[in-house]
């Protein structure tokens, strides 16, 4: 039928001539017929009339001939024109539908740009699927580990499967650069000289690293990234070859990386300023900490083949080793390595947000169906006038498509504003991958697909049911008011589906908000408001710059004094491990009566620590400044520790050995606090006074500060003073209310909260719309009922019953689905089970209340119908 299509298209250009000829043809036909009739003896007048009667409708024929030539495009344009007329006539509905779609599509677009950049888009290197991490594999723990020994690094370099094997670090290393203005920690990354070749990443200016730069002494090169080249050197091309003074010697700038270079780090926020060669002493057998290996497979080598070779290499070595020293390795595609921990979480978010456009579509579909009844008359007349059902369905689908396109366009525009908002809230734990998150062609394609899908989802059913308008019934009844028209329009299935979806979201939100609140309300044991900490970012007081113990102690003292002098600071303390920085392995503590040393949470603190945190003394005494004067001789323990090791007895006076070094006597017991993390229950803990000048952590203490007000100016002053103590140190100030512990749960709680609020609002709008609509369609019936003595309450109930019962069915279905779905929330929840009956009940009741209110308001309007007016209108 392609030929016929082309002929149709061609005929468009000679349309006028075609019609003229048809006209001629018909005229000729009639004349000839009349002549023939006359020849049979009719009068001229009769002959013409007979010819005409015989021919049938002339206009009809012209019309039908024209129809033969009209293309899909013609009828589409006609449908579009007609749709616009209808939209103008129903501004309220049109606007509501477009806004619903726009919000849904923009939310989906925003989250898709995150998911796409992170999970789906290939990494920004040539043939990224060839890049693999060589990871250590621990069969007992069934987990990967990073560091691989030098011997294996060497062996894998010789392997046939790889084009190149490079060592790199995906965390920052911090060489110290001596700037004229003072020293500073440069955020750098140490890499094998062949890393860029392995990544197939080009150099913008200058040269790549050379392989000899891998040996000690020859490693004094540095590669700038584009950002730091611009920032530090103003994009000056003459920097290449210039020498920079680092703490470990002069380094020569050999090149500049292009702006689109991405460092293959697991921490996507980490973009090094400089790359520095990773010197390896191949000759010396040292127990090095291990190398993080990144390799590129040869083009023809499959992952399984490379894995087989790696296994062969490790197998050969393992033969000569005892069982417990054998190692195995696994190849992990780089892409997978970068996102493996967060794939589920991201897909969960994506799924939750995709519910929004879906609910929106179901809602619009239902409104269209309800309105389809109002259009019964119009559709019926069109069918009676000869419009085909497919043609009618096409008209209705065109309307849906136009609505969708308008919503989609607006939605995409909206997402340019919504995406930055989302990114600002997105916790760093979910910002993975190396691709920039932006609304690009792929994302726009997704939005377009979603828009079209939305048109189908919300338009298909109404189009189908609309084109099946019952002409005969409509003509018989003569109006649209008889029977139970208004109530019959919407499809309960759609309302059930959308309220079920909304219910799943709502339960999810309920659980997440619940666990977030629990986290916040948790008796951490100390107040985190007005609390902040000041610490070194990645670094410490180096021996080079602080050679003597005294200089370290002076620095720490100076820091305490400077911060303590700030107005608004109540108290300052120093500690080796700040509270709420996550789980730690702890230090060995020998408790009398127990054969093995216990790994316990040991903190070295200044005497002020207890006051700053707000820990109360339960028995004995707290530490004093005198205790700090020497290596620890006394210690304070917490209540958990007392209960565990001296149940029913007083631990006071007991002697324990901490970290194999300090034999201390317990002088006091303090209350338990959640020092490791908000989620972790208090663990047995020991507090020993900071005093031993040999304690290495003295070089990287954290200062904990309690302020009297939450005034930001105080925190600014703290940051200023802390940096002034030594401008060459890189210092970070963190407020505890912003502690990372809360960020991720808060993000999920907010996101699900917004999604479910939106979903519930949509359902409420849907219920209100449907009820209001059925009220407007049944004024006559209401008039009759009221005239016959129905009470307003009965009328309200009549209208509420159906929609509320339908929603209730949806909610029950949704709750059942949620029972299965909330399991996915798993470790996002804290202190509340995925099947928490309270949350389920509260959300069910809440939703039902909203649904009832949404149905009640328009239903109440029904009682305002004046029976006389309603009846007279007939």
């Amino acid at each position: 039928m392609i030929g016929s299509g082309i002929r149709k298209l061609l005929s468009r250009f000679s349309r006028a001539r075609m019609e003229e000829q048809t006209e001629d043809e018909i005229r000729f036909h009639l004349e000839m017929e009349a002549q023939a009739n006359q020849a049979r003896g009719m009068t001229a007048e009769d002959a013409r009339r007979a010819a005409r009667m015989d021919f049938g409708g002339e206009a009809q024929t012209r019309e039908t001939v024209r129809d033969v030539y009209s293309t899909l495009l013609d009828s589409l344009l006609q449908d579009i024109r007609y749709s616009f007329v209808l939209f103008r006539r129903n501004r309220g509905f049109t606007l509501a539908a477009i806004i619903t779609l726009a919000l849904g599509i923009s939310a989906a677009t925003s989250i898709f740009s995150v998911v796409d950049a992170t999970l789906f888009r290939p990494l920004p290197y040539p043939q990224p699927d060839r890049l693999v991490r060589i990871m250590g594999w621990s069969p007992e723990k069934a987990s990967y580990y990073e560091g691989i020994s030098k011997d294996y690094f060497a062996a894998f370099r010789e392997a046939q499967s790889f084009e190149g094997v490079s060592a790199y670090t995906w965390y920052p290393s911090l060489p110290i650069l001596y700037n004229p203005g003072g020293a500073e920690n440069v955020v750098g990354a140490t890499v094998s000289p062949n890393l860029l070749r392995t990544l197939a990443a080009p150099v913008l200016y200058g040269r790549d690293f050379r392989s000899e730069e891998e040996t000690y002494g020859n490693d004094k090169a540095v590669m700038l990234t584009y950002g730091s080249w611009q920032k530090r050197f103003g994009g000056d091309l003459n920097v290449i070859g210039r020498s920079l003074p680092f703490a470990d010697g002069q380094r020569t700038i050999i090149g500049v990386l292009p702006a689109d270079f991405r460092y293959p780090s697991l921490l996507s926020a980490f973009m090094p300023e400089m790359l520095i060669p990773f010197p390896v002493d191949w000759t010396r057998a040292s127990s090095d900490p291990g190398y993080y290996l990144l390799a590129r497979l040869k083009p023809e080598v499959r992952l399984s083949e490379a894995q087989a070779e790696v296994d062969l290499i490790s197998g050969r070595n393992n033969q000569s080793l005892p069982q417990n020293q054998r190692v195995s390795f696994r190849l992990l595609p780089l892409q997978e390595h970068l996102v493996k921990y967060k794939r589920t979480a991201l897909l969960l978010l994506f799924g939750a947000i995709m519910c929004l456009p879906l609910i929106g579509c179901l809602n619009i579909s239902n409104m269209l169906l309800a309105r389809g009844l109002a259009r019964r008359q119009e559709l019926g007349i069109r069918i009676a006038l000869g419009a085909g059902r497919t043609r009618l369905a096409r008209q209705l689908l065109t309307e849906s498509l136009l609505l969708s396109l308008a919503g989609g366009a607006l939605g995409v525009l909206l997402s340019f504003w919504m995406l930055p908002l989302l990114l600002a809230q997105l916790p760093s734990t979910l910002r993975l991958g190396l691709n920039d998150i932006a609304i690009d062609g792929r994302v726009l394609l997704f939005s377009l697909g979603l828009t079209l899908a939305a048109a189908l989802i919300h338009g298909l059913w109404p189009a189908w049911s609309g084109s099946r308008a019952d002409v005969a019934g409509f003509l018989r009844k003569g109006d649209s008011r008889g029977g139970r028209v208004g109530a019959g329009g919407f499809k309960p299935a759609l309302l059930i589906a959308e309220s079920a979806l909304a219910m799943v979201l709502l339960v999810g939100a309920g659980l997440l908000i619940n666990s977030f609140l629990r986290l916040g309300a948790l008796p951490v044991g100390f107040r985190t408001d007005n609390l902040c900490r000041v610490g070194f970012l990645y670094s410490s007081l180096t021996e080079k710059r602080y050679p003597s113990v005294q200089s370290v102690l002076d620095y720490n003292r100076n820091m305490m004094d400077r911060i303590g002098a700030i107005a608004g600071v109540a108290e300052v303390a120093a500690v080796d491990y700040p509270p709420l920085r996550g789980d730690r392995i702890g230090a060995p503590v020998v408790v009398p009566g127990l054969p093995d040393a216990q790994r316990l949470d040991v903190r070295h603190v200044t005497a002020e620590y207890f006051a700053v945190i707000g820990m109360n003394c339960i028995s004995g005494r707290l530490l004093t400044a005198q205790d700090e004067a020497s290596a620890p001789r006394v210690a304070v323990i917490n209540a958990s520790m007392g209960r565990r090791y001296w149940p029913g007895r007083s631990p006071l006076g007991q002697t324990i050995v901490v970290d194999k070094k300090w034999t201390v006597q317990i002088v006091g017991v303090v209350q338990d606090v959640r020092e490791q993390s908000v989620q972790t229950d208090p663990q047995p803990g020991v507090y020993v006074p900071l005093g031993d000048p040999d304690y290495p952590k003295l070089r990287s203490l954290t200062f904990i500060i309690r302020t009297t007000t939450g005034n930001p100016a105080v925190y600014r002053a703290i940051a200023q003073q802390a940096r002034a103590a030594d401008v060459r140190q890189v210092i970070e100030v963190t407020r505890y209310s912003d502690a990372v512990a809360f960020r991720t749960p808060r993000f999920y709680a907010i996101l699900f909260g917004i999604c479910s609020a939106f979903a519930v609002t949509l359902v409420a709008i849907g219920i209100a719309g449907i009820t209001a609509y059925s009220v407007s369609q049944r004024t006559f019936e209401i008039g009759v009922r009221l005239a016959l003595g129905a009470r307003p309450r009965q009328v309200i109930f009549m209208f509420m019953r159906r929609s509320v019962f339908t929603v209730a069915a949806g909610l029950v279905a949704g709750a059942a689905a949620a029972l299965l779905a909330t399991r996915m929330l798993g470790d996002l929840l804290f202190g509340v089970k995925p099947k928490d009956p309270l949350t389920f009940t509260v959300m069910l009741v809440f939703f039902l209340a909203i649904a009832s209110a949404a149905a009640y308001l328009p239903a109440r309007n029904a009682t305002r119908v004046d029976p006389m007016t309603a009846l007279r209108a007939e």
Partner: protein
């Protein structure tokens, strides 16, 4: 009113047979619309009256399908009208339609004869 209800002859042609009749009529040579309708009527001895309302749309549809082509021509009375001529595709189609028709006649016949 689409159909001419005054002539209750065989005017309500079976769907699809109109195409067959037109193709058959055009087989000997080009003809204009009125000629086609008259010829069908003559041959069937007035039994089949082609409804003009469907004749012309059918002709145009068949042009689009490539079975016939329309071209300007002069009538005996030297009037300039549109003539329709069978194409090679049209001729093939005629063969197929005739075969189908024969099969159908046989089929319907055997159904009717069956007791």
């Amino acid at each position: 009113m689409r159909r001419n209800t005054t002539t209750k002859t065989g005017a309500d042609l079976l769907q699809g047979t109109l195409d067959l009749l037109i193709l058959k009529t055009l087989a000997p040579g080009p003809m204009h619309g009125w000629g086609i309708s008259r010829r069908i009527r003559q041959i069937s001895e007035e039994f089949l009256r082609v409804n003009q309302g469907s004749l012309y749309p059918a002709l145009h549809r068949m042009v689009l399908k490539g079975w016939i082509v329309s071209e300007e021509g002069l009538t005996d009375s030297r009037r300039r009208v549109r003539f329709y001529r069978l194409t090679a595709a049209g001729r093939r189609r005629l063969g197929e339609e005739m075969r189908d028709w024969d099969q159908m006649v046989v089929a319907i016949g055997s159904v009717l004869k069956a007791t």
